[in-house]
């Protein structure tokens, strides 16, 4: 299985490179002109739109470079990159998910939320694996008691990453599962409890209220909990991502975003709009379906990485 994933990852990386070359190659081509001409602005705009950055944010970003005096293409490119980086850095990203060293029995809680199918369960498995590597002892609560076989899915992952999954049966009360899982985390002297939740559209009032209740249950168990509430966002998502972030922010006060599925051809540009409006930082990126495919988010690298792929690309 791991070998299989590795091979496939290489393949998708190649595919991704191809698609990115087109995009950023174009950007570079545009910036090659001595001055950012009107048509060039139009093309940069289209490039940003194509990445789901959205019209409003795109216009703001462009305004930051448009009025600059003539300069080299590299200068213009770096101006745009800086503007994009600044946007993402409006919200401070903690150096580590949890401050200090892992202490046994801490049971710090990470609540994971998001709409249906974005990659919550898979992200949880990857995160558990990642935290194990950082010296933590995680435990997972199977809080999605709604979707068929969601519990089984999480249990398979638990076995793969060697992390215990506390579960009830389908249809059980999520609050009860979480309560049990928290007690289990304390009893097993685990220091992180990752809570899976059922996917829900942010427009469903009742389901969002249920989420608020889940948060309250955690707060009652420990006033500091949940130490993190992560919103998983699918990189394929367009402008609706902002509405999602708004709604989940309001109900459960998210502390960060995990941007899943960046191994596809979608750029996830909606995070710029989210950062601008909600100051919600991106903490991790999901880069595939294997347990190692979770990378801490680095603003410079994200913005830079997008552009540097184009260095090798032929100018179009």
């Amino acid at each position: 299985m791991p070998v299989d994933f590795l091979r496939r990852k290489q393949k998708t990386e190649e595919g991704l490179k191809k698609s990115r070359e087109g995009w950023f190659g174009k950007l570079r081509g545009i910036f090659r002109g001595q001055k950012l001409s009107l048509t060039a602005v139009g093309e940069v705009e289209e490039a940003l739109l194509a990445a789901d950055v959205g019209l409003g944010t795109t216009e703001k970003l462009l305004a930051a470079v448009k009025d600059q005096s003539p300069g080299s293409p590299e200068e213009h490119l770096s101006l745009l990159k800086q503007a994009m980086g600044r946007l993402l850095k409006q919200s401070s990203v903690p150096a580590k998910l949890f401050p200090g060293q892992p202490r046994p029995g801490d049971a710090q809680v990470v609540l994971v939320v998001g709409v249906n199918g974005v990659g919550k369960t898979t992200t949880i498995a990857k995160l558990a694996h990642y935290l194990k590597g950082e010296g933590y002892k995680p435990l997972i609560a199977a809080g999605d008691t709604f979707r068929a076989a969601a519990i089984e899915q999480l249990q398979v992952w638990g076995q793969r990453v060697g992390v215990e999954v506390i579960a009830h049966t389908q249809g059980a009360d999520t609050g009860a599962v979480i309560f049990d899982a928290y007690k289990a985390a304390q009893a097993r002297r685990a220091n992180v409890l990752i809570v899976d939740t059922a996917g829900r559209l942010h427009t469903k009032h009742n389901l969002m209220e249920e989420l608020r209740k889940i948060r309250r249950i955690l707060e009652r168990l420990n006033p500091e909990a949940p130490q993190h509430t992560l919103l998983v966002l699918d990189a394929t998502t367009g402008q609706n991502g902002l509405a999602q972030a708004r709604a989940f922010m309001e109900i459960v006060q998210c502390t960060g975003i995990v941007l899943a599925k960046v191994d596809g051809t979608s750029k996830g540009g909606i995070v710029f709009a989210i950062a601008e409006e909600l100051k919600l930082p991106v903490l991790f990126m999901g880069t595939g379906e294997g347990i190692d495919d979770l990378t801490p988010f680095d603003v410079e690298e994200f913005v830079d990485g997008l552009f540097t792929t184009s260095q090798a690309a032929p100018a179009t």
Binding site: K18, L49, L55, G117, A149, Q153, H202, T203, G238, S266
Partner: protein, 458 residues
């Protein structure tokens, strides 16, 4: 969430001259708003560009249609164009002459294939076959995907074909599954495949192999309605490798405007067969191009609103209202009644977005943009602070009366003015409405945004 396009365009045309025909300047200003609306709805920027160019051609030099103001005129042309693109092809699944009709579901990870497979089985079963469709689990990669389909099948009392992921693979499961469907004499065989990226050559090959082995009649791409600009690339590649026959648009019960549907149909030209509108197995609905067009343009799903309204407003009241409209005696009291009825229908923000023209009201309310319960209450407070006479003929509201109303409702005179302007605009539309024949009204309620938001009396 989004302002109705009509409201924006009304604003545009208020700034412009717009007389008997639309000048080039009018058209271009209006089309800028149209482009914004399309992009906000996630329509691919290239598709949006082409569409705007086509609409431009159509609008220039065209005489204004009777009974439509310039804003409505533009919206109508755009809406018609969108509807035309979305209408292409056959939106029904047809049984093949020889059973089983084999349907293969494909798509990206997390787009909703497994849930859709179950919904489809239920839908096809309800559409009248004696024998049940067979569900075939061909996602052996994602943990517990087989269990998920099996569990849904059990819940629905549908037969399901599964193989153990540890010892089999997707191709074997699909092939054997379809063979089983033939043995069982099942009318339909629905093959659920694993999610994959369109750039994953190895996994795309797996789908090609399955296609060759089972010879499906339909290969349906399952697409999340929230998908952004990349939808065209994804669908394009799936289409290139597999030859798609249709689309299913999922998670339409959210507030995504679903521009991806337009992008994809514009680029690969395959029909949308169903939309998914809920997590439960009965959450699958037929696709209506005109409803989708309105939704993409943010002009609200007029028909669904009418349906909801019908449930709330009783028939007698509706008939009264219609009579008032015909006699052009729709006053602020009726306006308030309408608002109250609307509030009874459910979540307000959502409903406001479903009502054409309401976008304009929303925009004019203090703070503009989103309307919440609080702001609607403000409108209500304003109307309630008026005397019966003022409600009936708002024209009597002079400066001092307005000040009194503002004070009484805890708002500013400006708010009162805004409300009155909006009401007058609505009244104007109502007058047009009153002149129309029932047939025309029906057509307008269905297709043309900017129509007054009224229940359709049966």
């Amino acid at each position: 969430m989004f302002d109705a396009l009509t409201a924006k365009l009304t604003g545009v045309f208020q700034r412009l001259s717009g007389k008997g025909h639309l000048s080039e300047k009018d058209v271009d200003e209006a089309l800028r708003e149209v482009r914004v609306a399309l992009l906000e709805a996630d329509v691919n920027f290239r598709v949006a560009r082409d569409l705007v160019a086509r609409v431009r051609e159509k609008l220039l030099g065209v005489e204004l249609q009777q009974g439509l103001n310039p804003a409505q005129q533009v919206v109508k042309v755009v809406n018609d164009e969108l509807t035309a693109v979305l209408s292409g092809g056959d939106h029904k699944l047809k049984p093949s002459p020889q059973a089983p009709t084999i349907i293969m579901l494909v798509g990206l990870q997390g787009s909703g294939k497994t849930t859709t497979a179950a919904k489809l089985a239920l839908n096809l079963r309800r559409s009248g076959t004696i024998m049940k469709p067979l569900l075939i689990a061909a996602d052996l990669r994602r943990p517990a995907a087989v269990d998920q389909l099996a569990s849904l099948a059990k819940q629905l009392d549908m037969p399901v074909y599964t193989e153990a992921p540890a010892t089999s693979n997707a191709l074997k499961a699909a092939t054997n599954g379809v063979r089983r469907a033939k043995d069982l004499d099942a009318p339909w065989a629905i093959v659920d495949t694993g999610g994959r990226l369109q750039i994953d050559e190895e996994l795309m090959q797996e789908l090609v192999d399955i296609k060759q082995a089972v010879n499906p009649h339909e290969i349906l791409l399952v697409v999340d309605a929230m998908t952004g600009q990349d939808a065209v690339q994804v669908a394009g590649e799936f289409h290139k490798q597999l030859g798609l026959t249709g689309l299913i648009l999922t998670k339409m019960d959210g507030d995504a405007r679903g521009g991806a549907a337009l992008s994809i149909t514009a680029v690969i030209g395959v029909p949308i067969k169903f939309i998914g509108i809920g997590e439960k197995p009965d959450g699958l609905e037929p696709f209506f191009p005109d409803r989708m067009a309105s939704r993409i343009l943010g002009m609200g799903d007029v028909l669904s609103l009418v349906e909801k309204a019908e449930a709330v407003i009783d028939e007698k009241k509706a008939r009264e209202l219609e009579k008032k409209l015909r006699q052009s005696t729709f006053d602020l009291q009726d306006f308030l009644d309408q608002l109250k009825a609307v509030r009874k229908m459910g979540s307000l923000g959502q409903l406001m977005d479903m009502i054409p023209g309401m976008g304009a009201i929303k925009k004019r309310l203090p703070n503009g943009g989103d309307v919440d319960e609080y702001r609607l209450k403000q409108v209500e407070a304003i109307v309630l602070s008026m005397t019966a006479r003022e409600r009936r003929s708002p024209d009597v509201l002079d400066a001092s009366r307005k000040r009194r109303v503002a004070k009484g409702s805890g708002t500013a005179v400006q708010d009162v003015n805004q409300l009155l302007n909006q009401f007058r605009e609505m009244q104007k539309m109502m007058k047009q409405f009153a002149k129309m024949k029932p047939k025309q009204i029906e057509k307008m309620m269905k297709g043309t945004p900017g129509a007054p938001q009224l229940p359709r009396p049966r």
